[in-house]
Symmetry: none
Subunit: 411 residues, 2 copies
Amino acid sequence: MKAQLLTIGDELLIGQTTNTNAAWLGRRLSALGIRVGRTVTVSDDRTPIQQELERAYADASLVICTGGLGPTHDDITRDVVGKYFDAPLVTDDDLLARVRYYYTRRGRDMPDAAPRLAQMPEGFVALENPVGAAVGLWHAADDGRLIALLPGIPEEMKAIFDASVEPRLEAQSGVGEVHHRTLVTAGIAETQLQERLGDLSDALGTDVHLAYLPSTSGVRLRLSADATETDAHARLDEVEAVLRERAGRYIIGTGDVTLEEALGNLLRTQGATIAAAESATGGLIGHRLTGVSGSSDYFLGSIVAYANLAKQEVLGVTDEALREHGAVSEAVAEQMAAGTREALGATVGISTTGIAGPTGGTEEKPVGTVWVGYADASGARARRFQFVEDRALNKELFASAALERARRGLL
Amino acid sequence: MKAQLLTIGDELLIGQTTNTNAAWLGRRLSALGIRVGRTVTVSDDRTPIQQELERAYADASLVICTGGLGPTHDDITRDVVGKYFDAPLVTDDDLLARVRYYYTRRGRDMPDAAPRLAQMPEGFVALENPVGAAVGLWHAADDGRLIALLPGIPEEMKAIFDASVEPRLEAQSGVGEVHHRTLVTAGIAETQLQERLGDLSDALGTDVHLAYLPSTSGVRLRLSADATETDAHARLDEVEAVLRERAGRYIIGTGDVTLEEALGNLLRTQGATIAAAESATGGLIGHRLTGVSGSSDYFLGSIVAYANLAKQEVLGVTDEALREHGAVSEAVAEQMAAGTREALGATVGISTTGIAGPTGGTEEKPVGTVWVGYADASGARARRFQFVEDRALNKELFASAALERARRGLL
């Protein structure tokens, strides 16, 4: 199946918003074995939307549009699509009741424009939006061509895709021409991982393809095999075994598992709890751990001690350690990890103290320096890492290093 | 001047790379007053590149292509463009010497394919690449239409644009057709904001366009005015004055300012400090505040108290409050805000306690319920909000509500 994406919005064209929707949809469609042939971005104007829709629908058997589904006057996607399909807009009573409930439940008056959210081109199906007021829309033509209209707000687009678009696509024939399998690693850089895996040409042969997908929490190894081959699954099993043998403990799981989920599973299995003490990560460790539903089973809390006084008062970091070694030091990282473990009564404590940048670096401790501490019943240790120059990236890398340290400690 | 972007690369289509080049170019061209009418992404294949090039060049007076300029066999942009212009590829001796020097200087052998980097379609001009081996290419047709070919690697693309494309564009007549101005709001939903702003048709007239850009931290209002009008700036001033009069305290700043930056600026100006106590946000408030460089001037820390014991031990939340009202309650939110303010010695304390979901909701306190607390020298208060059903989205919305509460408290 061939797909085209039509992403609508002036904010994308002028670069006020980066088109993360296109990337996300590209990944998800590829994982389904659907090939994205073209992605087009146009402004919120009638003529260009109509032209691009016409063109995409002529070239591809699946068109996904994002944007322009809200209630305001510049949200014209449903009008334009309706005109294109020669389908009048009709108000759906169930949808109207849903929109009304959406606002009532939030204790808000329904805005005058909100009833637009209950309008659909005739012949379209509404796709439930679990996180917002605007539903998605779906149309399956007699000739098999499919079109999905999704909101532009990433959280809403993703939620509707997951709940309603993906299952519909999986039910289509011609989907799934490629089988994928992903092994997730942590705590090792792409080039080191590549060296460790060594020459894989024998294992991969000509029918399995390996892609390295690096991110701030680790490198994913994506294997792809032609699914028309009868033994595609067996071949993926073989290659997976080789990768596991060579990458060993660096592999934290498969599929979409995240580092914080892998760590959470370990903690839950062991009946253990975790507490963090964060300086350079500023709360990101807690944010990532609590991004996992059910994390209250094992995550007790995090002391974000940005100021030195907070390190001393709440975590019990000593004057001497701060004076003799500075806030970014082995001694302080160890005391922070031990301090939060004790303050919150956790099985393990982890900590970060470092220089995220762009300012604050010195010759001895340049931007990107971080000490990651780990404490358990046997005591506290810390290790130094040197990462990059970008503040946001450093925070992610520091947090990943601490989460991975905890995972290793529990293995 | 109207522009179109053609971004080439399979990695963009399958979402392995997010198309940050398009956003960056969109911002830079908009700043020059050049309107980007469409952005297209296609694969590294001859036919689609040729088709899209043809189409873009027919519709726009400026086409910028990124990607496919390297030395490898799938780098075919210069071939396709050469064919399109009926211009044979010729090797430029100066360029060849430059490519050779590029590798020599790095102590590397010149790859066999490298001489391709010295080839240009006849009639094209090379654009110096200060950071890589592949130069950019530029063509100005007799009819005034312009085309720039740039590498896909963001650092190289940006360096060539800055050094060689922007100056050429500034020298064109007809550049500067659109002026933008953005007002950033917080603490008000899109539809409520729209109602508050009311009928703007008189203020906007036919020459100023208003777009609503919602995100989890607020809604940005983007005004665009036709810059060929002599009084475009005066018109934007007029409309901005109307928006400010009607949206008042909801406006937190202009341009790209974020809620955490606006709050940080207020704190710094007042010589005030802030501390947070987070339950439902899990560390996100601290993470967002520390995303701003220099935040250590005013951010002291955050106590992420996920477990009840942590709320009691570190924040001094009382047994009674937890027993009588539950962890998600006005009393606990107030005690958390006051507790962190006191523990860290801050001017103001903010707190969140709520149910991010997907589990944990009850009839009385459904998923999406949050109490946001605020404490200063005059005491502590809390307010209840009801948000959505998605965990990640709720965490962002809860954090935004707390940050906005602090901003309001400081006004």
